[in-house]
């Protein structure tokens, strides 16, 4: 009797849990498509699908999307899953395709998972643009504000600037399937082999860059596992902050140098007290604006050419389907508070 009850409970728990997993994205929809447009000259509908909604990074991206919508006269809006989940993101893209938008710009959680959906979009004549996914298959153009090879190398230059060119270091990424974080990590490791041969990576990259408490814990653990650790490169906006907190807690801010991608206003106190040394980034609002600009440019039947000028952002280089700008931005104690995000 008792045992049966237990089994029933466990079974129902499982069912509920799987339902829970399936329901969460629908339950917390954010940034619903803007209200219907006045019917006049139907403006282009451009949907920007980000990795995860409701985090500061993509909130700033959204300001760029909104600015583009206003300035360019298109119906552009941002949406995305409530968790950085590839499957939920694919579902949103498929819904947008079914809805019949004119262009979809995606910041992929998982490049591979989106390929079939992109194929479908193309069949329906929808323009597909990606961002932060340089090797994306199935996209019309991948738009990058930075040269990712240079960016990865720049991160290691910053690391060496603060820890010296000899010693042990570790890498944080947002997740092991986040294309760009791992690309930067690959590039940096490769670059360090020739440029800084005395740097030693202590362990595989650790997926804690989007969870501050986890990054803090992992840093405490790293300090003990590798007592000679001298540096941490963190990709994902919370990794470096969590690391900086752990170092501050342990009074190790002079011994271990933290650099990486951060939101300037959030990192400002850590940069000022020295628990984090330097950050590197581009302006996410530019990403939102650029994606919408590019989508509209293509929808109007224009062609992308090497060396063309994107208004307010400089010259773009074209390499296959990769449209690249060069907007790497150093973040330090002096400028962190004045960057506006």
């Amino acid at each position: 009797m008792k045992r049966k009850q237990v089994l029933v409970r466990i079974f129902s728990l499982l069912v509920m849990l799987s339902m829970l997993a399936a329901c969460t994205p629908a339950a917390a929809p954010t940034a619903a498509p803007a209200a219907e447009q006045p019917a006049a000259a139907e403006p282009f509908e451009i949907a920007v699908v980000v990795k995860i909604t409701g985090i500061p990074w993509f909130n700033v991206v959204e300001t760029g999307v909104d600015r583009a919508a206003k300035e360019l006269g298109v119906n552009a809006y941002q949406t995305g899953p409530a968790q950085a989940d590839p499957a939920q993101q694919v579902k949103i893209v498929e819904d947008l395709i079914a809805k019949g938008v004119d262009a979809i710009a995606v910041v992929p959680n998982d490049a591979k998972a989106l390929e079939p959906a992109f194929q479908k979009a193309k069949e329906k004549g929808i323009i597909v643009i990606t961002h932060e996914s340089p090797d994306q298959v199935g996209t019309d153009y991948d738009f990058e504000l930075i040269d990712n090879v240079k960016f990865g190398q720049h991160a290691w230059d910053q690391l060496v600037k603060h820890m010296g060119d000899t010693g042990e270091y570790a890498i944080f990424v947002g997740g092991l399937t986040v294309p760009l974080h791992n690309f930067w990590a690959d590039t940096g490791i490769e670059y360090a082999k020739t440029k800084y041969p005395n740097l030693k990576l202590v362990t595989e990259r650790i997926p804690c860059g989007e969870d501050q408490e986890l990054a803090r814990q992992k840093t405490l653990e790293l300090i003990k596992a590798y007592p000679d650790l001298k540096g941490i490169v963190g990709f994902g906006s919370l990794g470096p902050i969590g690391a900086a907190q752990a170092l501050k807690e342990k009074g190790l801010t002079d011994k271990i140098a933290v650099v990486g991608t951060v939101i300037p206003s959030q990192a400002a106190p850590y940069l000022k007290e020295g628990s984090m040394k330097e950050g590197l980034l581009w302006n996410p609002a530019d990403a939102g604006y650029g994606m919408v600009w590019l989508a509209k440019y293509l929808l109007e039947g224009n062609k992308i050419t090497d060396g063309m000028e994107i208004p307010g952002m400089g010259k773009a280089t074209l390499d296959g389907t990769l449209v690249k700008l060069d907007l790497i931005m150093d973040i330090n104690a002096e400028n962190a508070e004045s960057l506006g995000f």
Binding site: Q83, Q212, K224
Partner: protein, 333 residues
């Protein structure tokens, strides 16, 4: 029944000891006071949530909304800190978070009791409501830049020691708060009529009612209590990371439930102990810590943690089944 419980806890403790020995063999720096205190601090957040979950599981229910409750109260606390900053103190903060937690928890209890909806369904629904409303109102904004006193409080240690390398460590105030709550919970469960009636209700609600227990009051207490723990947990989370993000806790329910079940609580209600819960939390935290210290590549974390949960819960379920079989045989004989 009691000896069985004790045996289960002893069993978890045994696994902890074995795991510790393995980790120490690979990396002796695991077995240090410094790591012990750091671990205790890392455990505190999950530990506080686990206390609340234990009460609910004993009562025969389950609560999947506590992370949403914690998110709401954490957000309220963060807003208060940003607006009134220096005029507040830590007690007001805990009071505010606790009050919001109790309120939302009582709401859960009322729905569960009056509409007789299973707790799992109720709390999935309310979790979405709480979290959804917060997402709408907050637009997902992260809150940080709290007053300095709030950051300083988080760094208080009851005593400070220095490792050979000169790193400071000690018993963190956060750990002390957790341990105080553990003591309180232990006292309630062990020595009060209230605690014993929660076990009674979990064992068999209808007999408990017939025996004169007020199920409404018990339900209210249990869900308000996990709400209180969720509220306190949200303050601890804010103390630890000095940032409140609407999405940082939701999704962590399963780790907490896993820890409590690992510690011997049954999803069918009526069993579970605070000692087991603390051990369950310890084991889960230990594994994550140990894998890094053993230089295991990060890809393997989830696999190992999943396997350990499976093995230990599996073994204890197997023992329980054998025990039941034995009982049936003696009863029929």
């Amino acid at each position: 029944m009691k000896t069985l419980l004790r045996r289960h806890e002893a069993y978890v403790l045994l696994i902890i000891i074995v795991v510790s020995i393995i980790i120490t063999a690979v990396n002796p720096s695991f077995f240090s006071l410094e790591n012990l205190f750091d671990l205790l601090k890392s455990m505190s957040l999950m530990g506080v949530f686990a206390i609340g979950m234990l009460f609910v599981l004993i009562s025969g229910g389950i609560d999947l909304s506590f992370t949403a409750i914690a998110t709401v109260s954490g957000y309220a606390v963060a807003l208060a800190l940003l607006r009134y900053g220096d005029s507040l103190n830590i007690f007001v903060i805990f009071l505010l978070a606790g009050a919001i937690g109790i309120l939302l928890g009582a709401f859960n209890a009322a729905i569960i009791y009056f509409f007789r909806i299973p707790s799992i369904i109720t709390t999935i629904a309310t979790s979405n409501v709480f979290y959804g409303i917060l997402t709408v109102l907050s637009e997902g904004k992260w809150l940080y830049g709290f007053p300095t006193w709030f950051g300083d409080f988080a760094n208080i240690r009851l005593f400070t020691l220095y490792s050979p390398a000169g790193n400071p460590y000690g018993l963190s105030i956060v750990t002390v708060i957790w341990l105080a709550l553990v003591l309180l919970a232990w006292f309630i469960l062990r020595y009060t009529v209230l605690g014993r009636s929660i076990y009674a209700m979990g064992g068999s609600p209808s007999s408990a009612e017939r025996a004169g227990f007020n199920l409404l009051r018990l339900n209210l207490f249990v869900y308000a209590f996990i709400g209180l723990m969720a509220g306190f947990g949200s303050v601890i989370q804010a103390l630890l990371v000095q940032t409140v993000a609407p999405n940082s806790l939701v999704g962590k329910e399963m780790d907490v439930i896993a820890a409590v079940v690992l510690g011997g609580a049954s999803l069918a209600g009526g069993t579970g102990s605070i000692m087991g819960t603390v051990l369950g939390v310890a084991l889960i935290t230990l594994l994550g810590n140990g894998l890094t210290l053993m230089h295991v590549p990060s890809q393997w974390y989830d696999v190992v943690i999943g396997l350990v949960i499976l093995v230990s819960v599996g073994v204890s379920a197997y023992r329980m089944r054998k025990n039941i079989q034995r009982r049936v045989i003696t009863e029929t004989a």
